[in-house]
C-alpha cells in the first residue's frame, strides 16, 4: 500500500536527483580546456589518432557524452549512462570508475555505519540519562563539550588525532585500511583486528564530533516527553524506573532523532572527503579528494553521483519509515 505521502516523497527525491545530475552535466560541459588537452594529448600519443578524433574519444570515455550529438541528446545519454551505473574511465588511475567505486565504497560504508551507530547509541543513552536524572554534574560537562566540538571542524579533530595518536605516540597506523603485507583479506581474526585498528582513528574523529550533538538532541527531546501526562501516570502506577525510562520516555523521545539520521549521513559524507584524506583511508572521500586535486572529472562525477544518490536514498528511506515508527505522523 503506497500512500499519497510516499508518492510525493519519491517524486521529490527524483526531482532532487534530476537537479543534482543537471548540475553535474553543466559542470562537466564547462571543464577548463587545458584539463581536456592533457587527456587528448595522452590519447594522441598512445593511439596515434588525429587531435579531433582524440578529443571526441576523451569526451566519450572520460565524461560520458558524445560532443557531435545535439545538446538534449547528450544530456539524455549522460543521465542514462549515470543511471545504468556506467560511470566512465578514470584518466589518472587508469581504471574504470566502477572498479574504483567497488573498492572504495565498502570502506566508507563500514566507517560511516560504525561511526553513526556508535555516536547515535551512546548519545541517545547519555541524553536519556541526563534528562531523567536532571541535576547531575554530567549535564554542564556535556553542554560545554558539545559547544567545543561544534567549534572544531571534523577535519581539525582528525588532524589532531593523527598528529598526536598516530604520529607522536605511534599507537595507530599512519595510512591505509589494512596492512596487505601482514594479513590476508578474508574472514580471519588477524585481518579483522587489523582492519579495526586502521579504522579506529577515522571512526573516533566522527564519534568525537557528533556524540555531543546527539546527546543534546536526545536530552532536549526526552525533557519535553517527561512533562507528558502518560509518563507521570506510569511513574504514579509504580512501574520500575528502567521501564519508564526505556519504554515510555525513550521510545517517544527517539522518534524526532531518527529523522535527523539522514541529515547526519549527508554531513558525514561531506566530512569523509577531508577525514579520509587526513588518514589516507581508501574510501569514497579519499578518492573524491584525489579526483579534485588531479582534475579527474570522470572520477569526480562518478563519486559525486553516488554520494548524492546515497544521501537522497537515505532521506527517502527515513521519510518512508517515519510513519511506521511514529503513528502520529500517519494521520496527516
Amino acid at each position: 500500500m503506497i500512500s499519497k505521502r510516499a508518492i510525493k516523497r519519491i517524486a521529490y527525491s527524483l526531482a532532487t536527483l534530476f537537479a543534482a545530475t543537471t548540475i553535474l552535466f553543466i559542470v562537466v560541459h564547462n571543464i577548463p580546456g587545458d584539463v581536456i588537452y592533457v587527456w587528448v594529448y595522452d590519447i594522441v600519443e598512445t593511439y596515434g589518432v588525429s587531435w579531433e578524433e582524440a578529443e571526441r574519444i576523451a569526451r566519450v570515455m572520460f565524461l560520458g557524452y558524445e560532443p557531435d550529438k545535439p545538446l538534449w541528446q547528450q544530456y539524455i545519454d549522460y543521465i542514462r549512462n549515470l543511471l545504468r551505473g556506467n560511470l566512465g574511465y578514470s584518466p589518472t588511475f587508469r581504471l574504470p570508475v566502477n572498479a574504483i567505486v567497488a573498492s572504495a565504497l565498502p570502506w566508507t560504508l563500514f566507517i560511516l555505519s560504525l561511526s553513526l551507530s556508535t555516536s547515535f547509541i551512546i548519545g541517545v543513552l547519555l541524553g536519556m540519562f541526563i534528562a531523567w536524572k536532571r541535576k547531575t554534574i554530567i549535564d554542564p560537562i556535556v553542554s560545554a563539550y558539545a559547544a567545543f566540538t561544534d567549534a572544531t571542524p571534523d577535519f581539525v579533530t582528525a588532524m589532531l588525532l593523527f598528529i598526536f595518536l598516530a604520529v607522536r605516540l605511534g599507537l595507530f597506523p599512519l595510512k591505509g585500511a589494512y596492512d596487505a603485507e601482514i594479513v590476508t583479506p578474508g574472514f580471519n581474526l588477524p585481518f579483522i583486528a587489523n582492519v579495526l585498528w586502521h579504522a579506529a582513528l577515522p571512526v573516533l574523529s566522527y564519534v568525537i564530533e557528533h556524540i555531543g550533538a546527539w546527546t543534546l538532541l536526545m536530552k532536549g527531546s526526552a525533557v519535553s516527553v517527561l512533562e507528558e501526562d502518560y509518563v507521570r501516570a506510569a511513574i504514579a502506577r509504580g512501574l520500575r524506573e528502567s521501564r519508564v525510562v526505556t519504554a515510555y520516555i525513550g521510545r517517544t523521545a527517539i522518534i524526532p532523532l531518527v529523522a535527523l539520521i539522514a541529515i547526519s549521513i549527508g554531513s558525514m559524507m561531506g566530512g569523509s572527503i577531508l577525514i579520509e584524506t587526513v588518514f589516507t583511508y581508501p574510501g569514497m572521500g579519499y578518492f573524491f579528494a584525489q579526483a579534485i586535486g588531479r582534475m579527474d572529472y570522470a572520477l569526480m562525477q562518478g563519486l559525486f553521483f553516488l554520494i548524492i544518490a546515497g544521501v537522497i536514498l537515505a532521506n527517502l528511506v527515513v521519510d518512508l519509515i517515519y510513519p511506521i515508527i511514529d503513528p502520529r505522523a500517519r494521520e496527516e
Partner: protein, 310 residues
C-alpha cells in the same frame, strides 16, 4: 472626509522620528551592549570575535609580514622574537596567522552576507506571497538542503578556478542559504497572521512598507544570530577547501598553512613542526568557539526560553 482618520493614523505610523545621536547611542547601549555585557556567553564570544576582528583589520598594519626564507631558523619553538615559533622555511608563524585572519574573515563575512541576502529574499517572497510561488521556491530550497554542500562546493571551486575572495564567497553562499530561507519563510508566515500586520494592511500600507518596516525588524535579531552561525560554517567550508590545496589564494590563509603542514613539508611528522601544524588549527577552533558563544549568547538574550548548550 471619512478617510481622514485613517490617513492621520498612517501618517503617525510612517513618520520617521528623527533621533539625536545621543538618543541613538543610549538606545543602542540598552538594547545591545548592556545585555551582551551581562550575558556571560555573549560577553566571552564578543571578546574573542573582537580580538579576531582587530587582528584582521589593524593587525596587518602593526605586524608586518616577512616571507624571506631563512633555512637556519627552521621550526624554531616559540620565543619573544617569534611568539608562535617559525615554519619550515624559518618564517614567523604569528605573522602568517595575523595576515591569514584577514583572508579567512573576509571570505567568511562575504559568504555569510551573500547567503543572508539570498535567504531573506527567498524567505520573505515565499512566506509573504504563499501559494504557487511558495510551493515552487520551497521545492528548490529543499533540493539545495538535500544535496551535500561540501562536495558541490569543491567541484564548482575547481571548475570555475576561483582566484579571488568575492567569487569564492559566492560559491560558498550558493550552498548555505537554504536552511535560513526556510526558517525566515516560517517566521514571515506566522507574522503575516499577527494583528499589527493585519492592521497595516487594513490601513492600506504598501507591501514595501509592510515588508521593510514591519516584518524585517521583527526577524532582525534572528538574522544576526544566523549571520554569525553562517560565518562559522563558511570558515569551516573555506578552510576545508583550502586544506585540499585546490584554491590558490594566499599562502598565509589558515587552510593553506594546514595543507602545507600536512601534505607538503611534513611538519606533522617531525616533533619540531608541531607549532606550525597546530597554530592554524587552534586559531580556527578559537575563532569558531567565539562565534558559537556569541551566537548562542545573543540567542539567549533575544529568546530567553531557548537555551542552547545549557
Amino acid at each position: 472626509m471619512r478617510r481622514m482618520p485613517v490617513e492621520m493614523i498612517k501618517e503617525v505610523i510612517t513618520e520617521e522620528r528623527k533621533k539625536t545621536l545621543k538618543e541613538a547611542l543610549v538606545e543602542f547601549y540598552y538594547s545591545w551592549i548592556r545585555p551582551i555585557l551581562k550575558n556571560r556567553r555573549a560577553f566571552i564570544g564578543s571578546l574573542i570575535l573582537l580580538m579576531f576582528i582587530s587582528m584582521a583589520t589593524v593587525g596587518p598594519l602593526i605586524v608586518p609580514l616577512d616571507l624571506t626564507t631563512r633555512w637556519e631558523q627552521r621550526f624554531l619553538p616559540p620565543s619573544w622574537e617569534h611568539p608562535l615559533g617559525t615554519d619550515y622555511a624559518g618564517r614567523d608563524i604569528f605573522q602568517q596567522i595575523v595576515h591569514g585572519s584577514r583572508e579567512v574573515l573576509t571570505i567568511a563575512f562575504l559568504a555569510a552576507a551573500y547567503a543572508i541576502l539570498i535567504a531573506i529574499s527567498i524567505g520573505i517572497v515565499s512566506g509573504y506571497l504563499g501559494g504557487v510561488v511558495d510551493a515552487f521556491l520551497m521545492g528548490i530550497t529543499d533540493i539545495f538542503l538535500t544535496i551535500p554542500s561540501f562536495p558541490v562546493m569543491l567541484i564548482i571551486a575547481v571548475t570555475v578556478r576561483v582566484a579571488d575572495p568575492f567569487s569564492f564567497a559566492a560559491i560558498l553562499a550558493i550552498w548555505m542559504w537554504a536552511g535560513l530561507a526556510r526558517s525566515i519563510r516560517a517566521q514571515v508566515r506566522s507574522l503575516r497572521e499577527r494583528e499589527f500586520i493585519e492592521a497595516a494592511k487594513v490601513l492600506g500600507m504598501s507591501t514595501r512598507h509592510i515588508v521593510f518596516k514591519e516584518i524585517l525588524p521583527n526577524i532582525a535579531p534572528y538574522i544576526t544570530i544566523y549571520f554569525i552561525r553562517m560565518m562559522k560554517g563558511a570558515i569551516t567550508a573555506s578552510v576545508g577547501i583550502m586544506f585540499l590545496g585546490v584554491v590558490p589564494l594566499s599562502i598565509v590563509h589558515w587552510g593553506v598553512m594546514m595543507n602545507l603542514a600536512m601534505f607538503q613539508y611534513g611538519a606533522v611528522y617531525v616533533p619540531e613542526g608541531i607549532f606550525y601544524a597546530l597554530s592554524p588549527l587552534m586559531a580556527i577552533v578559537l575563532l569558531e568557539y567565539g562565534a558559537i558563544c556569541f551566537a548562542s549568547g545573543v540567542e539567549e538574550i533575544v529568546n530567553p526560553r531557548l537555551k542552547t548548550y545549557e
